[in-house]
């Protein structure tokens, strides 16, 4: 590259940097000023400023996010469960026997008590009927078709519009600072992959989640993957560090969760050497979203809430720390 051009680029870069830094907008506008926001900004600053004692090179800036209750709504039930229930209703005409067979009967009659009573076996049957027997791409299509029309009753909005605006800003802020952001969800990996890129800016390869087994098969002469009705991996509690190691191959330096299912991910992350960030979203806002913790069926937060101060984990008080909860309607 000729010298003149190099000089022009250098000049432009200098001018750009010097004007930009004076005007840099708040990267977290939906966070109220306070201890939580400050702790996030302090952490990011100290691991990214080159002269900092806690500087972390870009390749090690790994941040992991739980999904249900951390990036999007998980009440009154996990969205993936709402999907499975709707899917049973949709498929019911092809399965007249379901009217008299549990757990399908319970789903069709809206009897949540009977559904809960069907236990793990019932859940496994639901998963088999609604999540297996097709390729991952076909499954994602089914999920996408459902998400395009299904709505949460209370907020009268599609589920992908019930993501947390402050967390979207946090994801973008971290990526802007050289972090790679991953979802590490107890939910199904292919379920989340359907929307992770358009909604969170997280590509399919950066989604870790629970999975069922998949089989390679030649169908009508074409190589195909088929989802099997058999659990492969549960990416929750102890499973989260295992799943992170398997997919990412590095210990994160920052982890974000909201329930005891995230305890081990937070603990493993923040036990590493150097500066670490662990953060829990505490749902304290019954008016704008929900208020729940120790007694909740979905997203139970008990031990992690007790241990957070000693572990140095930030507990975000949704009601006071978040200016907005959901993105603006459009």
């Amino acid at each position: 590259m000729p010298k003149m051009i190099r000089r022009l680029i250098a000049l432009a870069a200098i001018l750009f940097v010097s004007t930009a830094s004076a005007q840099e907008p708040d990267p977290l506008p939906s966070w109220n000023d306070g201890a939580s926001k400050q702790a996030i900004v302090d952490f990011v600053t100290k691991v990214t400023e080159p002269e900092s004692a806690d500087y972390v090179p870009i390749k090690d800036r790994v941040a992991t996010f739980d999904n249900d209750g951390t990036l999007w709504l998980e009440q009154p039930m996990y969205t993936q469960l709402a999907f499975a229930l709707d899917r049973v209703k949709q498929l019911a005409p092809e399965h007249p026997e379901w009217k008299d067979t549990q757990p399908f009967k319970a789903v069709l009659e809206g009897d949540m008590k009977a559904l809960a009573a069907s236990g793990e076996k019932g859940i496994a049957q639901l998963v088999a009927a609604t999540h297996a027997g097709m390729s991952p791409a076909e499954f994602q299509q089914i999920v996408g078709d459902w998400l395009a029309t299904a709505k949460d009753k209370r907020f009268e909005r599609g589920y992908t519009k019930l993501v947390y605006q402050p967390m979207l800003e946090l994801l973008a802020y971290l990526r802007d600072k050289g972090f790679t952001t991953y979802i590490v969800s107890g939910g199904g990996i292919e379920f989340v992959r359907n929307f992770s890129e358009p909604v969170y800016g997280i590509p399919p390869a950066q989604v870790v989640g629970s999975s069922i087994k998949t089989k390679y098969e030649i169908v009508d002469g074409k190589p195909t993957l088929i989802r099997l009705p058999e659990v492969d991996f549960i990416d929750d509690k102890d499973g989260k560090p295992v799943g992170i190691n398997q997919h990412i191959g590095q210990r994160p330096i920052a982890a974000f969760g909201n329930s005891d299912g995230d305890y081990q991910m937070l603990d493993w992350t923040t036990a590493g050497e150097g500066a670490r960030l662990g953060l829990i979203v505490h749902h304290t806002d019954a008016e704008r979203e929900y208020a729940y913790d120790r007694e909740s069926t979905f997203g139970r937060l008990d031990k992690a809430l007790d241990d957070a101060p000693a572990k140095g984990w930030i507990v975000v008080d949704m009601k006071n720390d978040w200016k907005d909860v959901f993105p603006p309607e459009n």
Copy 2:
């Protein structure tokens, strides 16, 4: 950003692009001109030129590479097997009973026939003794220490210097053109992760491989992962598309292998819609490397070689297509 600065940047960019394209060096200097090199360049051009009918957006430019025999040497045995054998010798003083127990006795006596006779059970015992009982980070350290000193006898070089220069150029060329490059190895995922970034420019999260189970545990009050002596996943043959789907979540548009273990990865990749590239490295160069295919214990290439023409897979003739095999000594 003020208008003047935007103009300066635009001007610099235009000048830079127009001078650079006139001088663009050959991205594959270690490939002789011929059908293989031309097919690679044609494929990359047609999926990356914006006006091309076969244009593929950056997010879908996924390329997967087998490791043993495709990116580095796999003769006279897989490097990971050489590691396991050396490791047994290193640990033997702590295990006096190994002198009289198979498969360890065979390893210590260099009796490859007796080792082969120990079969799958023997291999499982070797893996348990040499690959399990420590954290993934500790295992990678052990691998790194070994790779730093171990040498291939014939070439008198460390194994990470016995990578194929033309393939290093191909990896860099694809990345330069917006591809994300993954390793999809039948070898152990944590073994390959030790060197994938410095040697191939492929970070740990972009390595797919075989794995043993890992358990999360609190040891001396610290959260730890421990590698267990139990196979989790075999990333070979049918397993390669399954592993790719699990880790990457997308079907690649280009796949590179050298043996029948890569058949399903090549087949699944090239059966997708739009422009696809499947490539097989055929080891035809006994003088500079090795010549082997249908009868080889390691890297057997038989069915994939037969089917390559009908499938449209490029078969690289190492002897004639590659100007250099290994990187220059330094």
